[in-house]
Amino acid sequence: MREREDEWTGLMRSAISGDSAAYHRLLKAVTPVLRAAARRGLARAGQPVDQSEDIVQDILLAVHLKRHTWDANAPFAPWLFAIARNKLIDALRRRGRRIFVNIDDFAEVIPSEPAAETAPAGEVAAQLQTLPARQREVLQSIAVEAASIKDTAAKFAMSEGAVRVALHRALASLTAKLREQ
């Protein structure tokens, strides 16, 4: 556990100094842990565990948009688990259950791969439809078609800067919409 968390901290340090590949690896590495914790939270609240993917995506968006609140001199895991716990409680509350989520639920968790019985996440996709057309197109180009910023800029005859702005705005307003629902 300890080793894993030190690795996360290292990756996050690289990420905030601009290494997007390290950031990608970090998000990949934490996702199974978040998924397992979400499933456990759902199970404890008496909710179907196959709903975990929406919660995982919700946590990932929050991690992304709030990563400037992480202190690069502190370990990454406690920060991550605090965000995750907050989002998990929120999600369970929205589903109509108040539940106490222990921070240890995250620390002790065994990563869970996407199991066959995990339903695809629908909330982000649904909110995507409410975004302004340009933001949605940019987001879909990068997310679904796996196009780079550069290719996306060429495709829509935009500058790379404009693509970056549209992408960031799309992610921020997606998160805001998820919170409000």
Partner: protein
């Protein structure tokens, strides 16, 4: 959208680096300060005998107390803007303004006074104090909440209450230069009441606007 696709998208947005919460909070407070000062100068203004009052240690103590509250509030807000933060080990900061006030009361008790204790406590500006401090603090409170929204406070009501304390501290600093009641007993009673009101508003607003 699949989670892998979302992760790829987030990684593509890694170049976007947000400003630190402290910077946003400072900018927001600096933008709100002129509004609060306008309210203060339009409605109250500095007391006319301020030059002589400055030689009265109890007049000066008011600023020490209110500024200590504001600074502790700012430090606590910044701390609580991190998701993993708790008040444990930090709440003592709020004892600084309280301690200064208690020291002031003790000091005043030891000196001979012209007016009886109750008269000093009740003062002559209690109503102004109770309305002016909350009014002046509102723009600052809005700014503090805006700054904290940029952070990730996992206890929104507590963070909102601290935003209330810091804005009340700043507002009371302005108000103290108007008020002719310098007794620490007056400050301990009416400033505290006004501050509690702003704190309650902050907690209420925080629980709504500070969730992320």
């Amino acid at each position: 959208m699949q989670t892998d696709q979302l992760i790829r998208t987030l990684a593509a947005d890694n170049t976007h680096q947000a400003r630190p919460v402290g910077v946003v909070l400072a900018l927001a407070l600096l933008a709100a300060a002129p509004v609060s000062m306008a309210i203060f100068f339009a409605g109250l203004g500095v007391r006319p005998d301020v030059m002589t009052a400055m030689h009265n240690p109890f007049f000066d103590l008011k600023f020490a107390v209110t500024l200590a509250l504001a600074i502790s509030g700012i430090a606590l807000s910044l701390h609580l803007s991190r998701p993993e933060a708790s008040l444990r080990g930090w709440a003592w900061l709020l004892l600084i303004p309280a301690g200064l006030l208690v020291g002031g009361i003790a000091g005043e008790m030891m000196l001979p006074q012209r007016l009886p204790m109750m008269t000093r406590l009740v003062g002559s500006n209690s109503r102004v104090c109770l309305t002016a401090i909350p009014l002046i603090s509102l723009p600052l409170l809005a700014a503090a909440l805006l700054g904290l929204r940029h952070g990730a406070p996992t206890r929104p009501a507590v963070a909102g209450a601290i935003a209330g304390l810091l804005s009340a501290g700043l507002a009371a600093t302005l108000y103290a230069s108007h008020c002719t009641d310098d007794s620490p007993l007056f400050v301990a009673t009416w400033y505290t009441l006004a501050t509690s009101l702003v704190t309650a508003i902050g907690a209420l607003a925080g629980s709504r606007v500070l969730r992320f």
